[in-house]
Amino acid sequence: MKIQSRIRSRCHYYGRKVLLFLFSVFLLSIVVFYVSRLAPGDPLVSYYGDRVEKMSSEERGRAEERLGLSAPIFVQYVRWLDNAFHGDFGISYKYKMDVVEVIRGRLGNTLILGGIGFFLIFVFSLLLGVLCAWHEGRWIDRVICRVGTIMSCIPEFWLSLVLILLFAVELRVLPSSGAYSIGGDKDLVDRAWHLVLPMTVVVAGHLWYYAYMVRNKMVEEARRDYVLLAKAKGLSKRAMIFRHCLRNVLPSFLSIMAISVPHVLGGTYIVETVFSYPGIGTLSYESARYKDYNLLMLLCLLSGILVILCNIVAQVVNERIDPRMKAEVVWETSRDAARVNGGSESAGENEDAEEGGGEV
C-alpha cells in the first residue's frame, strides 16, 4: 500500500516535469514560429527557390493558396505544427534539401566538438577547482585565479584567431579549418588533429568560470564544522577533500553544469564559425546570412529544446539530491548562477588576498 502510493507520487512528479517540458517546448515553438514569420523575405522563395521570380501573379496566388500562406497566422501555425509532427519542417532554401536531412549531416560533428568539450570542461574544472582549494592562498592558487580572470575577458573568436595565427600560420603545425583534410573523413587521426584548436578554444573559454565555482564552493565547504571533526579524527587531507568536501560540492556543481549547456553551446557556435568547422554552428550562421528561415527556425527550436531539457534535468537532480529544494529554489539557483558568473572572480580574489595577506 505504502509502496503503491510512493510509486504514484513518483509518477505524479515525473508527469508534472514532462508536462512542464511539453508546455515550454510549445511556447518556444510559438515564439520561434511567429518571429520567423515576421522576418522579411518572401516565404515562397524558401519553398520554390528562384522559380518564384518567373511566376505570374496568378501562379503566385495559387501557390500561396496551396501553401496556406493566405490563411491567418495561427492557422498557419497549426498547419506547421501538424507537418512538424509528421517530420516535415520544410525545405532549406540554400541546400535545396529537406531541413532535417541538412541538419542530420552536420549534427555529428557538433556533438563531437560540444560533447567532448563539455566532458573536458567538466573534468578539468573539477580538477582545477580541487587543486586550487587544496593549495588555497598559495602561489599556484593565485596564479590560476589570475589566469582565469584574464581568460574570462578574452572573447572566444579572438582567442581562436590568435591560436590560428600562432599554430597554423606562424608555426604551421596544426590545421586552421575544417573537420578533416580533403578525402580524409574516415581517418580518425586526421579528424582528431583538426579538433585540437577548436577544442582548445571551447574548453579554455569556459573552463575557468566553472573551476572558479568549484574552488569557491570547496573553500567554503572547508570552513564547515564537519571538516574540523574529520581533521580531529585524524583523517588525511586527501580523504577530507575527496570523500567529504567534494561530495557536498558535487550536487550544486552538477546542476550548474546542466544549466551551463546553453553557454557551452553558444560558444561552440562561434568557434565552429571561426574554424569553418562543418557543424550546427556554421550552419546556423550560414542560414542567418542567406536568410534560410526554415533551417534557422529548426535550429533555434532544437537548441531551445536541448536547453529546456537540461534545465529540467538540473531541477530533477537538485530535488532528488536535496528534497528541501522546491521549484522556487531552482529560480534562485539560476539566479545565483548568473551572479556567480560575474561575481566569482571578486569573491575569489577577496579570499585570495586575505589568505595571501596572512602568508606575508
Binding site: V32, F157, L161
Partner: protein, 315 residues
Amino acid sequence: MMEDKFQIVGIQNPNEDAPNQVDIGRQEGVRPIFPRVVPIQKPRRHRDKPILAIVLLLTIVTGCLACEMIMTKDPAYMDLKNYNLPPNGEFLFGTDSMGRDVFSMIWYGGRVSLFIGVLSTLASTAIAVVFGAASGIAPGWLDELLMRLTEILLSVPSLLLVVLIQAILGEANVFSISLVIGVTSWTSIAKVVRTEVRGLRESEYVIASKCMGGGFFHILWHHLAPNFVSSIMFMVVMNVRGAIVAESTLSFMGIGLPLHVISWGSMLSLSEKALLTNSWWMILIPGIFLVVTLLSITSLGNFLQKSINAKQSNL
C-alpha cells in the same frame, strides 16, 4: 587569553589591528591544512582599488572621446598605395588590407564599441527593471507565466536569437545592434529584480504609496529602485562588458556592423584576410585594446561589488 591571540572564523575579534597576531598553525609549527584560523590583517580600504584598471579605462575612454585630437590620419580614408603595412613610423599600428590607418581606426572605432556597450546596457537594464518589477508585483499565476517566458528566452542561445532578430531588422547600424543586444541580454537582471521586488512589495511604504494612489512607475522609481539598485549594479557593469563582446563577435562574423562602420569588431572582421597575408597587427592590436578594456571593466565591476557588499555587511 585566547582571544587576543587568535581570531576564529565567525567570532568577532575586538582587537582587529593588534600587531602581534599569530596563526595557530604557524605557532605550533604545523602548516594549517584548511585554515580554520584566519590570520588577522589591517582593514584595507584603499589597497584594493583597481588603480591600474581605472587608469587604463580612463585612458581608453578619453582617447576614444577625444579621438579627433589623437588621430594621425582619417580613419575612413583608404590609402591604396600603403595597404597592409606593418607598424612603422608613419602608420603607428600599420595599415589594414584596405589601406586604412589602424592607429586612427582604434580610437575612432573604440568610440562606437564603447557607445554600443553603454547604450545596449541602458536598454537591457530598462527592460529588465520594468519586466522584473512587473513580474514581482504581479499575482502568482502571471508571475509564473512571465518567468516561464524569460526562461524560454534564455533557452535559445543568445547568439542565435541575436542573429534571428538582426535578420528581421535588416542591415545593422549602431542603434539597431545596440537594441538587439539589449533585447537579448536582460533576463538575468530581470530575475534578480523580480526576487528583490517580491521581498519588498509587502513593505509598509510600498503599500502606503499604493494607497495614496501612486502608479506602478512612481512606486518603481521612488520606492523599489533605490532598494535593488545595489544588487543589480554589478550585473549592470558586467552587462556593458557582455555587450561589447557581443558587438565585436557579431561584427567579426559579419552579421553585425558593416565594414564601413568602424568599430573594434568590424576591424577584426578583416582578420580572415589578415590570416592569409600573415598581418598579425590587424588581429592583435584591436584585440588587445578590446581585452584590456574588458579586463578593466571586470575589475572595476568586482571592486564595485566588493565595496557595496562591504557596506551592506557594516550595517
